[in-house]
């Protein structure tokens, strides 16, 4: 009897916590995944369960692209990089959108015309309404753009808007100086058109997209379909965005079926889904670049031979093929080969450890007893500043540390979330980061923000008068082919000066359950959820 009671007690002891766990899981995942039990069956059960229990089609998207770490919290595009969330999750749309070749095409607009060097006339669609019910006309766009340049940090410098005139379904924008890349810039996510007559409340705005945000927090957005969407029927009824900064959690969520699609899975998790018929992977080459900048104020890096040896001592092929498991492409310059002004037209030093050793040897850097080179009693020891937010960067740092040690350069890695503080103070030798170099499909942005003598992100003391002069030419040039030629020259200068090294471009990947359609990555990294996103 005692044994029976003990057994009963033990069973109860185990069952109660298990039941509690089950209840909490269900509670966290909404009705969407309440009935999901296994990963393999999840594709079918998710939709079936949501459809049968509530009569709505619900979709949960897990991403590392939304959250405080990525500076994308909210839906108001006029606030820093929040526009990325606005456009990615179908809340807002821009006047023009990029095609796969990163060329702007009409979206909320139907076309544009440069009246003269400083006047651009944009014609708007006549059938667009905001989620607030207001019609999108010239006046609405004028109000939105005026608020944008009044509040946004980057937009005024990019767009140079001096005056806006609205007339029915057209707006004429006057710029303070010629702005040949205006259409490219206005297609940036900050250019999402929102209804300014509806004040932002709880980080929610009224856009023109297929979805309307109902609840926005620091790590999630809940949305419902926009019943009056101008672009046609929206396939999903509900959309839930889960922002996560841990790729492993994301992996687990996709495996358990708590999310229907993911962006930002660690490469190490790819084999779990790649050869599994329950999942699909869609990829796109992007212009997100992993690159390093040499600090010209560093006593070692003033020596051009050291800079060149470093560029020759980084094994880009190994980084991409092994550490990124092939999910990327090696780089020569700032832009991928898919661009007219990209890698196809420039040359860069190849990985050549023997050549790098000889270069250092000839420059008087002699290997010490520990293999690290010395000159004038000083060891060639450099600080590699980077951050862990992009999972590829620590891998690049550790890989380069080993290959550069082989040529006699000691690398001390400073991998910190506070990288910008160190960078701005100049407390580094090599700063390695990741950025989308051509977010607008135009090359000017990268050079003006990073490489010129007066660039806001030039904390390296790098200066080249020819580069500055070419930048001035680029700024005035309207002809697209000529802009590409100038940009190619500028990229080549950066490489010839050994001021930068460009390691790799990111291949963006979105894993979805097999039944998901209409969700594919785009080279610009902006467009994800659309009206056509569906789950069956």
């Amino acid at each position: 009897m005692k044994k029976k009671l003990l057994s009963l007690g033990l069973v109860a002891g185990f069952a109660i916590p298990l039941a509690a766990c089950g209840a909490s899981t269900g509670g966290n995942t909404n009705e969407t995944t309440a009935e999901t039990t296994t990963a393999s069956a999840s594709a079918e059960t998710t939709t079936a369960s949501s459809g049968s229990s509530t009569g709505t089609k619900s979709f949960t998207y897990g991403t590392t692209g939304y959250g405080i770490d990525m500076s994308t919290v909210g839906t108001n595009p006029h606030d820093g990089y929040t526009g990325w969330a606005t456009i990615r999750y179908g809340v807002g749309e821009t006047l023009f959108k990029y095609n796969k070749n990163m060329e702007p095409e009409p979206w909320l607009a139907t076309g544009y015309e440069f009246v003269d060097d400083t006047h651009i006339k944009i014609t708007l669609r006549d059938d667009v309404t905001f989620s607030s019910g207001r019609k999108m006309d010239g006046q609405a766009v004028k109000e939105c753009l005026e608020d944008l340049v009044a509040k946004h940090d980057r937009a005024p410098g990019d767009l140079k808007i001096a005056n806006i005139t609205a007339d029915g379904q057209t707006v004429t924008i006057e710029t303070s100086e010629p702005c040949p890349a205006f259409i490219n810039y206005i297609s940036d996510p900050y250019g999402c058109i929102i209804d300014m007559q509806v004040p932002e409340k709880d980080m929610i705005i009224a856009g023109t997209g297929p979805f309307i945000a109902t609840k926005v927090t620091d790590d999630s957005i809940d949305l419902v379909k926009n019943e009056n969407y101008w672009g046609g029927d929206v396939k999903l009824d509900e959309l839930h965005i889960k922002g996560l900064n841990d790729g492993d959690t994301l992996t687990a969520l996709l495996q358990t079926g708590e999310v229907d699609a993911t962006y930002g899975l660690p490469y190490a998790s790819y084999p779990l889904f790649e050869n599994n018929s329950a999942y699909k992977l869609a990829t796109a080459e992007t212009s997100r670049q992993f690159f390093g900048k040499m600090n010209y104020n560093s006593e070692f890096l003033k020596d051009e031979n050291v800079r060149k040896a470093i560029c020759m001592g980084i094994d880009k092929e190994g980084f991409v093929n092994t550490l990124l498991q092939g999910h990327g492409a090696t780089s020569k310059g700032p832009f991928p080969a898919t661009f007219e002004f990209g890698d196809g037209k420039i040359t860069a030093p190849e990985y050549d450890p023997e050549g790098a050793k000889k270069l250092l040897e000839d420059a008087g850097w002699v290997a010490g007893s520990d293999g690290i080179r010395e000159k004038d009693g000083k060891k060639l020891s450099l600080t590699w500043l980077t951050y862990p937010g992009r999972m590829e960067l620590p891998l690049l740092a550790e890989s380069a540390q080993a290959t550069l040690k082989d040529i006699g350069v000691d690398i001390k890695i400073n991998q910190t979330e506070n990288h910008k503080d160190f960078w701005k103070k100049g407390d580094f030798d090599i700063y390695v980061s990741a950025m989308v170099t051509a977010p607008t499909g135009d090359p000017e942005y990268f050079f003006t923000t990073h490489s010129l003598s007066d660039s806001s992100s030039n904390h390296e003391g790098y200066s080249n008068t020819e580069l500055d002069s070419l930048a001035a030419d680029l700024h005035k040039e309207f002809d697209k082919t000529k802009r590409g030629e100038i940009a190619t020259k500028m990229s080549q200068i950066l490489i010839d000066d050994n001021a930068y090294f460009f390691a790799s471009h990111l291949q963006m990947g979105i894993f979805t359950k097999a039944g998901v359609t209409g969700l594919e990555p785009h080279p610009c990294d902006y467009y994800e959820i659309t009206a056509n996103t569906d789950i069956n």
Partner: protein, 310 residues
């Protein structure tokens, strides 16, 4: 004299009943002593076994460089993520580094850092506690309240906060852990000092002209070392887990330093796809912590006065 005669009478009165009892008691005491002796021998045997195992760990970490079959820091991307094989007994990591070599090399960082940490906290805590116990009064009250403040924080959370402020690095992790771990030793040392201070032999020592310094070093410290040592031994496993935990969270050893916690952290996303990369350092931590915990338990049992045979 009067007391002595009263005592004698009392014993004589009890004698008659005690004689009967003693016959029965003698038959019980014999086996009890034997059981205690067997127990004591068992503990001694266990102590020797665990000392040998701990010694083996220390030996491996001391001669890590010589014992590594490969250079633990040499990358070979063409050999990345190889499963365990005769060539690489524990496989290779994503940089193609031999995992066995990194585990062996990692023992230096993991074990020596832990021993250093335990040494620091036990010495600092003991000095603090002895000072408070000896000095007494307001100084004691104030200093012990400070230690109470540290005791009020959850250990790992406090260490996380300190390491977060100081930044990564094994030295910072040791400092962070030490900052929260010393009060325990201070309390033990203080209570023992207070007890020892009032013993007659301390009065005798004072009367015989010993200085404070002599009394502390000749009489107090030798008599309080037992409890401090046992606590320190028991703490090694906990501290090792704590340091590995900080490294796992990116606040301890920094790459490419071979350290078990950071090795687990680096490879955590491979648990399902390349499990040997994560499990190897995990097993190393498990075995080491277990050996030091069992050694600590055994030392405690061995030094426990209740285990001493008559």
């Amino acid at each position: 004299m009067r007391e002595a005669s009263e005592r004698k009478n009392f014993i004589e009165e009890e004698d008659t009943t005690e004689v009967k009892k003693s016959v029965k008691h003698a038959s019980e005491t014999g086996p009890t002593v034997r059981v205690q002796k067997i127990k004591k021998n068992r503990i001694k045997g266990k102590l020797i076994v665990f000392l040998i195992l701990a010694g083996a760990l220390l030996f491996v970490s001391l001669f890590a460089r010589q014992l590594c079959p490969y250079d633990p820091y040499k990358q070979d991307l063409s050999a990345a993520l190889q499963s365990p094989s005769p060539e690489h007994l524990m496989g290779t990591d994503r940089f193609g580094r031999d995992l066995l070599s990194r585990i062996i090399m990692g023992s230096q960082a993991s074990i020596y850092s832990t021993l250093l940490l335990v040494l620091i906290v036990s010495v600092v805590g003991t000095i603090f506690g002895v000072f408070c116990g000896w000095k007494g009064g307001k100084v004691d009250s104030v200093l012990m309240r400070i230690s109470d403040i540290f005791l009020a924080f959850p250990e790992l959370v406090f260490a996380l906060a300190v390491a977060g402020v100081l930044g990564g690095g094994i030295q910072n992790a040791i400092f962070a852990m030490a900052a929260i771990a010393w009060p325990k030793y201070a309390r033990i040392a203080r209570s023992q000092t207070l007890a020892q201070k009032e013993t007659p032999y301390m009065y005798a020592a004072r009367l015989s002209g010993d200085t404070t310094f002599q009394m502390i070093f000749k009489h107090i410290l030798p008599n309080i070392m037992g409890p401090v040592l046992v606590t320190a031994m028991l703490d090694i496993g906990t501290m090792m887990m704590g340091l590995s935990g900080l490294s796992y969270l990116g606040l301890g050893a920094m790459p490419p330093t071979a350290e078990w916690g950071s090795m687990m952290s680096e490879s955590r996303s491979m648990l399902q796809t390349y499990p040997w990369v994560t499990l190897s350092p995990g097993v190393a931590i498990f075995i080491s912590v277990m050996i030091f915990n069992l050694l600590g338990d055994t030392v405690r049992d061995y030094l426990d006065p209740r285990q001493r045979t008559k």
